[in-house]
Every structure is written in structure tokens, then in C-alpha cells.
């Protein structure tokens, strides 16, 4: 592996560009390079790992049991990547991906805007694999914007990268397998978590039970049981939570919640929220990939073929960005995506590709077993996705409330893109990348139609912000220079 830290050191064009160095991206880059494709792996972080294996080569958390055996499994992926011929560009952002206008025209050739250390440049790639992973689902409750309220994933990142543990009385709230994992990791690292508020709706159990047999034969069962048993030691778990509110003036002081007919209030210094992860489709959306609403996972999922190529030729999505499947599945899907790209680039015959893919697909089937049970069981309740209280903030950047959105729907504003112009929701620094799901579901709910009919924000590039100075200093591409000389 060759590491690049200067934008000028990049080639004009790569056969394969992989965006994101999590499990899917690492596997895709290693598999691509193995086929002899000139492969560039770009990642925002200083070291490979993505979110799940974040800081795996650099973390100060030395005790293996704190982050758990599943975390350290990422070491194998890093080893394969390091041994490969791929080029790796850390601390690099991709701010734009679009069809290339000039140069040799192979279908799917992309122009990619990248930026390293304040210097931007346009390069090309014949195939792009986006391994942009997952995001935590928004959790819009009253008071969720108060200092001291954060996502459990945010707390985990601080732990993995810097060994930081939240101070004071910590309450975790939400639902899903990751909530239990994050809680266990934080407790092992010394966080004082006294209460967990579990928002998993009771009625989900009834729906999930018919998928239980697969789950019982899956590796999830053992992991889940271990986490559950661990959670019960030294921590109160309150189940069947139907409402949560964070209180405080300048920061969170207490959390109020309802379970059954009871209401309780507990003092707390930190409230960690988490209700599962959803595909990070921001790049796919900006590129123009067709997306479908998945009513089980309550999120947008890009349309892909069996090699994860999207509706945009040459643009492939591997890993959780194409649908939540977890780290193991992500790495396998990264391999398949790279095999598909290798075939499209003429490097692999269809026969070789399929042969190499067959064992990976078998593994993928196994890795996906039990997933459906978890999806159905941990499908978050509507009360935590579509805020009932009118004064709950939905768009944090522009402070747009649920009530304001409902009022505006009543004016005949039918979708998120029209809503932007009316309320500026989704127009702040995050450009709707965080509130998109909430806005879509809230409009759909108010109108009494499906999210598919409402649609989502059309996200606009740059996918990551760049400065005016950086853009102004963009070096001319060879094609543009030739056009002037002519």
C-alpha cells in the first residue's frame, strides 16, 4: 500500500476509486488492487477503520476486552489492505462525484473532486465504489439539542479515537443491538451509566417472532445474549418507554420519560441517544442514484444490482451504505463490488468473476442470517421518529420545529425540496444530511401518504464543504488546458 498525503501526488485517473476506509472500503480496495486495477482508497480519517473499526491502528484503548473481540476483527482487513498495491489517501475528502465530461469516453467514467489539507483537485476514475457506511438515525425528542445530549455513536467515537469517557451521571436511551454494544463498551471504559431507557416497542416482539428461527441459528444470538446479561449487571433497564424529554436550561439536567402509565424524572449530566443506524446515502443522493424507501428499515436504500452497481453507471455502493448489514456483511459486499467493477473494466471474465464471488456469496448469506429478526424487532417507534410536540426541533441547523413543518404542509407544500424554500429546513451547514429522514417522514405522516410519494431532499454538491479559496485555486485539468491551447 502506498500512502499519499498531497493532492498533487494523485494520478490523473484511476481504474477504481473507493471512498471510505471502513470494512467495505478496505475490502473493496484490496480486492480491486489484487486484480491489478490502479486503485485509490480515499478516507477522511487519519487511519483506516471507518466507524466500526475506527482508530484500530491508533486507538489508545489498549485493553482488548474494552472494545471487544468484534472490534479487533478489523485487524485482518487492515492487514490485507496494507499488503495490497492500492494507494491510500487519508485525511482526504471527496466533495463531488459526477459524470466526466471530457477525456476518453468509457461509460461510467467519473470526475471526482477531492481535497487534501486545504488543496482541492479534480481527478477521474473509471469506476467508483462508495463505501460511505451508515449514520445514526435522527432521534428528535424535546430537548435533544441541549448540550449534554449526544448520540451514543458520538460517545463511542470519542472513546475509540481519544479514550474519552462521558463524565457524571449518564443515561442511555433508545433501541437496537448497537445501543447495548455501545453501552457495554462505555461501561467497560468506566462510564457511570446507571439507567438504560429501552424504547423498543412491545408490539415489535410479536412481529419479529416469526423470523426468530434464523436468528436463533445466527451468531447474533450468542453476542446478543452476552450483551443483555452484561447490561443487567449494575444498571437499571426500563423497557417499554413511550416518551422521552431532555430538560435543562443551558445544558441537560434531567430526563423525563413515560413507561406504561407511569412518568418518571431522573437527574442526569449526559443523555446518550441511539435508535439504530441507516445507510449514509448522502453521496449517492447527490450523484443522482435512484433510491427506494425501505419500510422495514425506515430509510432510503439505493437501487442496486447484484454487484451493487446503482442506477448511475460506474457508481457502486458497497457495505452499509447500500442497506444495513453490519461489518462482516459490509466487508463481503466490498469484495463483491470490486469483482463487479473488475468485470466491467474488462479485467475479469464473467465466469472468473462469478467463480470468485461464489464463496463470498455463501459467506454473505450466513452473515445475513438473523438480520431480519433484528430489523423487525428494533424498528423504532413512530413517536421517536415523527415528533408529536410542535415545539420539538427537527432541523437543528436552522432550528425548524415539527409544528412549523406541519403548518407549512397545510399550505400545500408537498415535499422536502419545496419545504427548503419555505422554511430553510435542510439549508444550514449540514445541508439536510441529518434531518432528511425526519422531514420526509413528518411530511408523509401529515399528508397521510407514504414516504416514497413524498420523496427526500435532493442533496447538492459539494458533498463536503470546501472553501472559496480552495475552489478558486482548483488546478486546471489537462483536458481544460488542451481546450484553451486549441
Amino acid at each position: 500500500m502506498k500512502t499519499i498525503k498531497d493532492v498533487a501526488a494523485l494520478s490523473e485517473c484511476y481504474d477504481l476509486l473507493v471512498i471510505g476506509a471502513g470494512p467495505a472500503g478496505m475490502a473493496a480496495a484490496a480486492t480491486g488492487a489484487e486484480q491489478g486495477l490502479s486503485t485509490l482508497l480515499i478516507d477522511e480519517n487519519p487511519a483506516p477503520g471507518g466507524q466500526i473499526y475506527r482508530g484500530i491502528t491508533t486507538t489508545p484503548v489498549a485493553a482488548k476486552e474494552t472494545l471487544g473481540a468484534d472490534y479487533w476483527r478489523g485487524t485482518d482487513l487492515v492487514r490485507d489492505l496494507t499488503a495490497s498495491e492500492a494507494t491510500y489517501a487519508p485525511e482526504t475528502t471527496v466533495w463531488s462525484v459526477g459524470p466526466a465530461a471530457e477525456g476518453p469516453s468509457d461509460p461510467g467514467r467519473m470526475e471526482v473532486g477531492v481535497s487534501v489539507g486545504g488543496a482541492a483537485r479534480l481527478i477521474q476514475a473509471r469506476q467508483v465504489i462508495a463505501a460511505t457506511g451508515a449514520l445514526e438515525r435522527p432521534f428528535p425528542i424535546p430537548g435533544w439539542t441541549l448540550p449534554g445530549v449526544m448520540t451514543a455513536g458520538g460517545a463511542q467515537i470519542a472513546l475509540k479515537t481519544s479514550g474519552l469517557v462521558p463524565d457524571g451521571r449518564v443515561v442511555v436511551a433508545g433501541s437496537g443491538p448497537l445501543l447495548y454494544l455501545l453501552t457495554a463498551q462505555l461501561r467497560a471504559a468506566g462510564a457511570k451509566i446507571s439507567v438504560m431507557l429501552d424504547t423498543t416497542p412491545h408490539e415489535n416482539w410479536g412481529r419479529a417472532i416469526r423470523y426468530a428461527s434464523d436468528f436463533l441459528r445466527s451468531p447474533y444470538l450468542g453476542k446478543g445474549l452476552k450483551l443483555l446479561l452484561g447490561a443487567h449487571r449494575g444498571m437499571r433497564i426500563v423497557r417499554g418507554i413511550t416518551a422521552i424529554e431532555a430538560d435543562g436550561d443551558s445544558r441537560v439536567r434531567s430526563v423525563r420519560f413515560r413507561h406504561g402509565s407511569k412518568e418518571e424524572e431522573l437527574p442526569c449530566d449526559v443523555l446518550l441517544l441511539h435508535q439504530g443506524v441507516v445507510p449514509n446515502i448522502n453521496l449517492a443522493n447527490a450523484v443522482g442514484c435512484a433510491l427506494d424507501w425501505d419500510d422495514d428499515q425506515l430509510t432510503w436504500v439505493p437501487q442496486t444490482d447484484e454487484w451493487y452497481e446503482t442506477s448511475v453507471k460506474g457508481f457502486t455502493i458497497a457495505g452499509d451504505g447500500a442497506g444495513i448489514g453490519g461489518a462482516e456483511s459490509a466487508a463481503l459486499r466490498g469484495r463483491l463490488a470490486a469483482l463487479g467493477a473488475g468485470h466491467r473494466l474488462g479485467r475479469l471474465s464473467a465466469k472468473d468473476r462469478d467463480q470468485m464471488a461464489a464463496p463470498v456469496r455463501t459467506e454473505l448469506m450466513r452473515a445475513g442470517r438473523g438480520r431480519r429478526f433484528l430489523d423487525v424487532l428494533y424498528r423504532p417507534a413512530k413517536a421517536f421518529r415523527v415528533p408529536k410536540a410542535d415545539d420539538t426541533i427537527v432541523c437543528r441547523c436552522e432550528e425548524v420545529t415539527a409544528g412549523k413543518l406541519r403548518e407549512t404542509v397545510a399550505l400545500g407544500v408537498a415535499g422536502p425540496n419545496q419545504m427548503k424554500s419555505f422554511l430553510r429546513c435542510g439549508m444550514g451547514p449540514c445541508q439536510g444530511r441529518l434531518c432528511g429522514l425526519t422531514v420526509t417522514e413528518l411530511i408523509a405522516d401529515t399528508r397521510g401518504v407514504s414516504p416514497n410519494e413524498v420523496g427526500g431532499y435532493r442533496l447538492r454538491p459539494p458533498i463536503k464543504p470546501i472553501t472559496l479559496g480552495e475552489l478558486a485555486a482548483l488546478p486546471k485539468t489537462p483536458a481544460a488546458i488542451k481546450a484553451v491551447e486549441r
Binding site: G98, Q418, P465, T467, L468, A473, K476
Partner: protein, 375 residues
């Protein structure tokens, strides 16, 4: 026959619910006409909803100044007209000269406009320029200001026109695509993907798709589909009130009340009108950014948070096609505003409604007719 479209038979069918279609529909309704608007996407989906929002009389071609002046009167009482302020603010627009030679040409232009009786453009020296736009680079010798100009929120405006038109009885059919227009006796039958509907008067306000309607009517026009690009920055401290434009290099520059800055000026991306999408050209946006870098040093470290393009129609002479059909009774054209039609929307709708209802208008529109493209 108008069954799927609801209501009774319309007097006027407007094709296209951009700012122009919506404004014409509203003004026709104000004159007591029954109007049906057919829109293939939704109102304001393309350039009417995503343009820079400039409300500008400044630096226009003489042929469209009367329409622009008429429109400006409506802009200054826009809330009375459509029950919505449309986000309209009037802090003027300034055309900055980047060199002495350019400043001389500006002086000649203002003199010429004055001789035609137009007084909205005013030549300003370096001192007045610095007073209006303190952050502008020291090297600029002066400019032209149009003090009643300003800016508005394009999508909000288009929606306000649409809502007011609806309140006055105009029917909007969105997501319906016109597939053909045939003469039937003294009226016109408009065929769509959901059925046909008939009216005596048809307005072609179909923007970047209007050439197809015109061609179908036997009046082909050399319309170019363009995708002007825009960028918006993160919030920066307030430093400029008027909209600033350049002529030599392409730039339009406006800071909103919330501190964000809109950068445009007509650099073109690629328009894919059959896919309803656009592709940005970053090399040209870089040029756009370089112009700002030169003109407003204060902006250099600001973050670009969003860039986009809208699909527009441009005519070879950069003037709209506005007025009666050259060959057909009852057909009217209102398209091809060539990336500067937003300000004209309110006034052009009023003039078009006058033309439809009375057969004539007092506002000079010669030079804008479709006959100029007749072979």
C-alpha cells in the same frame, strides 16, 4: 372533454407553471377568465424555483426595459398582489466596472438610456461605489446603480403566485405532460398523458421545453437549453447590502439577511432536460470562485456549502419570446427569458393577460415576438 381536469371548460390554458405561467394565470383570473395550468412537474420545479432571485432592471437590453419597469412597479407592491412578501428586499443592484475602459462604456450606456427616457440606471463614481459596497476591491473605478432593484426568494414567489391564482379559481394540473396541440374549429385541443382539454386561448410558458410546443405548432425556434450554476456559502458577517453584478467577467453576488452569500453570474453546467437533471462544471465554478476571490478578498476563507443549476431556455439574442403567435389566432408565447426572466414574471404576466383579454397592450413589446425567428 375537460373531465379529468375538473371544473368547467377553461377560456385559457397555460402550459408551464413557472413564475411566468403562474403570473399569467393569476392576471387572467383577475380579468375574470377561467384558466387551467398544465405543468409536467410541479410549480417552480426548474429555473423559476432555483434561480438567483435577482429582481433587476439594471443592465437590461432596451427591448425588454418597458416590461421590466412595469414589473418593478408590481414588485414594490408584491404583498398586495399575492398576499405574500415573496422575500422581496430592495437594497439596489450595482454593476461594478473593473477597469476605466469598462467605466467609460457604462457612462455611454447611461447616457443612451436617459435619451430613451429611462432613468433607473445611475452612473456612480468610485466614492459612491465604495459607500454602497465597502468591501469591493480598491481597483474598481465606479459603476452603475439601480436603486429600486433588489432580490426575492424564487420558489416562495412562484408558489405565492400559484396560491393566489388558485384562490381566484385557477386550476393547476401538476405532473401532467402536454403531448400535442391541434386546432379544432376556432379553439385548440391540448392533448396530455391523461386526456385532452380544449380552450380558445393557449399560452406557451413551457420554459426550456417551450420549443417543442412551438415546433408542434409549426413555429420552430432556435432555443438552447442551458443550466446556469449557482453556489451558496456558509454564513459570514454582514458586509454588503446591494446585489453586485459584473459584465466583463460573469458574476452576480448577493448576501442574504442570514449572512449566507449567493454566487452566480451565468456560468453554465450541462442541462439534461429529458432526465430533468443537470451536471455541474466545477472548472467553471472555480472560475466563478476566482472572480469573487479577486473582487471580495473578505470571502476567501468562506465555505461553499451548496452548488446547483437550474434548467433554462436561452434564445440566440438573449431576449425572450413574448407575444402573439405569428401564424395562429389564440396562441401566445412567453418563454426563452435567457437566464434573466425572474424579475419580469409579475409584469409579463400582467401584460400577457392584457394581450389575451383585449388583443392589445400599451406596454411596448416589439422586438420580442416570435416572428423574429421566422425563416
Amino acid at each position: 372533454m375537460s373531465g379529468v381536469f375538473g371544473g368547467g371548460a377553461p377560456d385559457v390554458i397555460v402550459i408551464g407553471a413557472g413564475i411566468h405561467g403562474c403570473s399569467t394565470a393569476l392576471h387572467c383570473a383577475m380579468r375574470g377568465l377561467k384558466v387551467l395550468v398544465i405543468e409536467k412537474d410541479h410549480a417552480g420545479r426548474h429555473s423559476s424555483g432555483v434561480n438567483a432571485g435577482g429582481v433587476r432592471q439594471l443592465a437590461r437590453h432596451v427591448a425588454e426595459i418597458p416590461l421590466s419597469v412595469y414589473s418593478m412597479e408590481l414588485w414594490h407592491r408584491i404583498a398586495q398582489l399575492v398576499d405574500d412578501d415573496c422575500g422581496f428586499t430592495s437594497d439596489g443592484q450595482v454593476l461594478v466596472a473593473e477597469s476605466e475602459a469598462e467605466y467609460d462604456s457604462f457612462r455611454a450606456r447611461v447616457t443612451e438610456l436617459n435619451s430613451f427616457g429611462f432613468s433607473h440606471e445611475e452612473l456612480i463614481d468610485a466614492r459612491e461605489l465604495r459607500r454602497l459596497v465597502p468591501a469591493v476591491a480598491e481597483t474598481c473605478p465606479g459603476g452603475i446603480v439601480s436603486r429600486r432593484d433588489g432580490a426575492a426568494l424564487p420558489f416562495k414567489t412562484t408558489q405565492a403566485f400559484r396560491r393566489k391564482a388558485e384562490a381566484l379559481g385557477v386550476r393547476f394540473c401538476e405532473g401532467v405532460r402536454v403531448t400535442g396541440i391541434q386546432a379544432e374549429g376556432s379553439a385548440w385541443t391540448v392533448s396530455t398523458n391523461v386526456g385532452a382539454v380544449r380552450a380558445a386561448k393557449i399560452v406557451n410558458a413551457a420554459g426550456a421545453w417551450a420549443d417543442r410546443i412551438a415546433a408542434d405548432l409549426g413555429e420552430p425556434v432556435p432555443l438552447e437549453v442551458i443550466a446556469p450554476m449557482l453556489m451558496i456559502t456558509a454564513r459570514v458577517e454582514h458586509f454588503i447590502k446591494p446585489v453586485v453584478i459584473l459584465r466583463g467577467r460573469k458574476l452576480s453576488f448577493k448576501q442574504f439577511a442570514n449572512g449566507t452569500v449567493l454566487i452566480g453570474g451565468g456560468h453554465l453546467g450541462r442541462a439534461l432536460r429529458d432526465q430533468n437533471t443537470t451536471v455541474l462544471d466545477w472548472a467553471k465554478l472555480a472560475e466563478n470562485a476566482k472572480t469573487v476571490w479577486d473582487l471580495f478578498p473578505i470571502m476567501r476563507g468562506t465555505t461553499i456549502v451548496r452548488a446547483w443549476a437550474g434548467i433554462e431556455a436561452r434564445m440566440p439574442d438573449d431576449l425572450p419570446v413574448f407575444g402573439k403567435s405569428r401564424i395562429h389566432e389564440g396562441i401566445f408565447h412567453q418563454f426563452g427569458f435567457s437566464a434573466h426572466g425572474f424579475q419580469l414574471g409579475p409584469g409579463a404576466g400582467a401584460v400577457m393577460a392584457e394581450l389575451i383579454a383585449t388583443g392589445n397592450t400599451n406596454t411596448p413589446i416589439s422586438g420580442l415576438g416570435i416572428e423574429r425567428f421566422a425563416a
